[in-house]
Amino acid sequence: QVDLNALRQAMGVMQHHDAVTGTEKEHVAHDYARILTEGIKECEIITSAALNKLIKNQSSEDVDIKFSSCPLANVSSCSFTENTETFTVTVYNPLSRPVNHYVRFPILGEAYRITDDAGVQIETQLVPIASSVLSIPGRKSEATMDLVFRASEIPPLGFKSYYVESVKKEEVTAPKMNE
């Protein structure tokens, strides 16, 4: 039931018709958005299955973990991160060399504690979302702040995951900074 071809076909159709240039009628542009969204949804199932294979021990009989993404994170809107108090963030690096990556997502809580796989607390920052983003027509989110942290040295073609907890402001201690 999982179809990687749905996204391939959507991309093929859109590239053939120069879909982002405006050289199609408006209702056709909306249809492209529809088929592209369906294709991406299909691929989310595949990425989630692939990450489960990478994450589990060979001998482990753990249940599958659901990995979801936030397609509206570009307008600081994500119902999952806004409405979940404890969750993990998994960052996958598609490049063949280690990279550092700043992760950013909208939140509703007043403070957050992020811990890496070694149990070390990670430095975080709350950043106000720009007023121009808050007023984008159609944005459905109560979040006014983004949480930012740095995912360091993500291995090539591999992942790192982080444990995120919403906490009271006084519970957060400033992590020690490296020299």
């Binding site: 975080t124 920052q125 900074m177």
Partner: protein
């Protein structure tokens, strides 16, 4: 004097960027949003076609400043410092400088463009510096190698350009740059998507970020380029990444840093979220 990071100066009177320091090089640089008004033709003959989905045909050769000043707020932090700038009701941006990243990000939000005016608006982001570029700039057209572009010039025929703005526009897949070979300085802007771009005056780079064309250009769509969402014109949001440095010096080239950034942005790390409410931190580890 020993500052080695990225530094940005803002003119407090206008709220616009005044200079940039990166890789130990300071360049006088202003950045502004402007727009061309789209030409309206009768579409009966080719030279009288309107600016539209297929053709960029500005009414005048000089764009109009969307605003000569910006309201701004600065948000300093341990990981990222942001400057939130608002130019007018339909153009704003966040300028970001992340810790340990040698690049300045311009995260722009443009739209909904006013559509009650007579002419369509074709909005550009222009970076203006004091570099001496000798009418030359470079683009990475078609995702292949960087190509040298010379203003009002074609390498294989004598050019008589009747449309000096659009005739000097080139596709930018991920990068546009200019060089001052005397001062050994390069200024590059990386994009997060394919855009049109040019350098219409020495020391300048411009990229088109959004447009509405209120008249069909009669090339086949049969519709004006004026899409709506949620009852208003579309809002475009994207990023430009500015890099400044030496063209080359001992064992260093800005081009290598640009390639590194382009890889990290175009094949960006993917972020996934999983519920962990029934999971302790030990379970997670």
């Amino acid at each position: 004097d020993d500052y080695t990071g990225v530094k940005l100066e803002i003119d407090q009177t206008t709220g616009l960027i005044a200079s940039v320091t990166m890789n130990n090089i300071t360049v006088s640089l202003t950045q502004q949003y402007l727009y061309y008004e789209g030409y309206i033709g009768n579409n009966e003959i080719f030279v009288n076609r309107s600016s539209g989905a297929y053709i960029f045909r500005p009414r005048n050769n000089e764009p109009i400043a969307a605003s000569n000043r910006a309201n701004y707020t600065i948000h300093r932090g341990n990981l990222v410092t942001e400057i939130h700038q608002k130019f007018n009701d339909w153009i704003s941006q966040v300028v970001r400088m992340y810790k340990e990243e040698n690049v300045i990000e311009f995260d722009w939000v443009v739209g909904p463009l006013p559509s009650e005016d007579t002419f369509g608006k074709e909005v550009i982001n222009r970076f203006q510096t004091d570099l001496s570029t000798n009418a030359t700039f470079y683009t990475d057209s078609n995702g292949r190698e960087i190509l040298k572009r010379v203003r009002n010039f074609r390498p294989t025929w004598k050019l008589d350009l009747e449309e000096p703005v659009s005739g000097n526009y080139y596709p930018v897949t991920s990068k546009i740059l200019m060089r001052d070979t005397v001062r050994n300085i390069e200024v590059a802007v990386l994009t997060d998507r394919a855009q049109g771009g040019s350098s219409l005056h020495d020391g300048e780079l411009e990229l088109m970020v959004h447009r509405n064309c209120l008249h069909d250009d009669a090339f086949g769509v049969g519709e004006a380029l004026n899409e709506k969402a949620f009852g208003a014109g579309l809002v475009a949001k994207g990023s430009h990444y500015l890099m400044v440095g030496n063209i080359s010096s001992d064992g260093y080239s800005l081009a290598a840093a640009e390639r590194d950034l382009a890889q990290r942005k175009l094949l960006q790390a993917w972020t996934f979220f999983s519920p962990a409410e029934k999971q302790s931190i030990e379970d997670y580890k």
